[in-house]
Amino acid sequence: MSGDALLIEAAVPTPVRLYGETLEKLPLDLYIPPDALEVFLDAFQGPLDLLLYLIRKANVDILDIPMAPLTAQYLVYVEAMREHRLELAAEYLLMAAMLLEIKSRMLLPRPPRESADEGEDPRAELVRRLIEYEQMKAASLALDAIPRAQREHEWVGVQVAERIAEIQPAVSAVDLQLAWLALMRHADVTRHHKVSREALSVREFMSGILRRLTDEGSLRFDQLFEAGAPAAQMVVNFLAVLELARENLIELLQIEAFAPIYVRHATPAVAESV
């Protein structure tokens, strides 16, 4: 409603004055074919952008904006947009009201200066906003001009060789101890699987002997014993051989009395009997 009242003023072809000269008609660049209006409206980011355009095209000092012609030109656009029933953002109308208000305040005689505030130019706030907006507009263009990833540059990212060393779970000896412990708690196996430190070394030698037999087929008994090894180790090794034999994991062979004893993996009992 109030918008209508404001816009009547624009509809009346008031002479437009620019630097004291009356413009008989609008500058050429202000003529917009109606079809192009929509595109034109799209081209502006809002009322501040449109005002800046008008100011820059007219080549007037932003610090001394001639309010009357600027307001008139601005209203011509707004009215044109309304006539073509283009969806006009409310901000455009708000700005129209603001321009008219500034214009009218400038027509009033200035009150005697009582404070700096009251003596301020009615255009000051508009000018401040226009300058800040223009500064940000320039900054946005400068930002856009910086070469950026995926437009001017690609990030380099070479494939990493096969994950041969894919991160493996870490295990400590204590983890194993705890695991064994849990087993003991959940199954009554303690009695059957009593393992002492000593027995463990026997079992280690058992594995070692089996591994050697796998590699070498068969070994002379004395080859199982490293010459010059500590006596304790010899004993453990011997116990390992006995335990392996007892568990039927190896065979001890002697062709004849006093011949060398050979050790080999146990042969399949079934195969032997056939």
Binding site: M136, K137, A139, R148, Q150, H153, A170
Partner: protein, 189 residues
């Protein structure tokens, strides 16, 4: 008790070879601290920095350059090759509208700001889509709320924003135009 094999202390040329491979293979920029981790931190940061400078010089003139950005060091292709590399891409890089770019500029230069602050400066309402586009790119995020009614979110630019623009700090952003310059600024539209 570690699973990783014991590594011999590499000599400087080995170190450069390792640094180069690590930086070429990294999915993100690597900081000095991260790079040092490869050498069990035994390598002095100052030595590492010198080697990185050397590496950057070694690569000058090639199609790929080593740059220092906000989050560390990273290799990127040079701008002059982009016309060729673009032919390999299936999608064009997004072109941002003026509304998005102006919003980004306001957040970059005036951060932290609310959507209301942005609207005040631009003189128009800012659609949620604009904020979403910038958040989606990882260039801005919400860093808090202004304690006024409605508790609007405060937006700031991210390290990714600096990285993507090849900058180390916000101070490397183009300086804001001086008032005088602004006044002579002719609309490029």
């Amino acid at each position: 008790m570690s699973d990783t094999p014991h590594l011999l202390s590499p000599n400087p040329s080995d170190i450069k070879r390792i640094l180069e491979a690590a930086l070429l293979a990294a999915q993100d920029a690597l900081s000095i601290a991260e790079l040092r981790r490869m050498f069990d931190e035994e390598l002095e940061a100052s030595v590492l920095r010198r080697l990185l400078d050397e590496l950057r010089d070694d690569w000058s003139g090639r199609g790929v350059e080593l740059i220092q950005i906000a989050s560390g060091w990273r290799f990127r292709t040079r701008a002059d090759l982009q016309p060729y590399l673009e032919k390999l891409k299936n999608e064009k890089p997004p072109r941002y509208s003026r509304a998005v770019l102006e919003t980004l500029a306001i957040i970059a230069y005036r951060q932290p700001v609310t959507r209301g602050d942005i609207e005040d400066i631009r003189g128009v309402s800012v659609s949620p889509g604009i904020i979403k586009a910038l958040e989606g790119r990882g260039w801005i995020d919400s860093v808090g709320y202004r304690e006024v009614p409605g508790r609007p979110a405060l937006y700031a630019t991210t390290r990714r924003f600096l990285d993507d623009l090849g900058l180390r700090t916000l101070a490397e952003l183009p300086p804001l135009a001086e008032l005088q310059k602004v006044m002579n600024f002719d609309d490029a539209r």
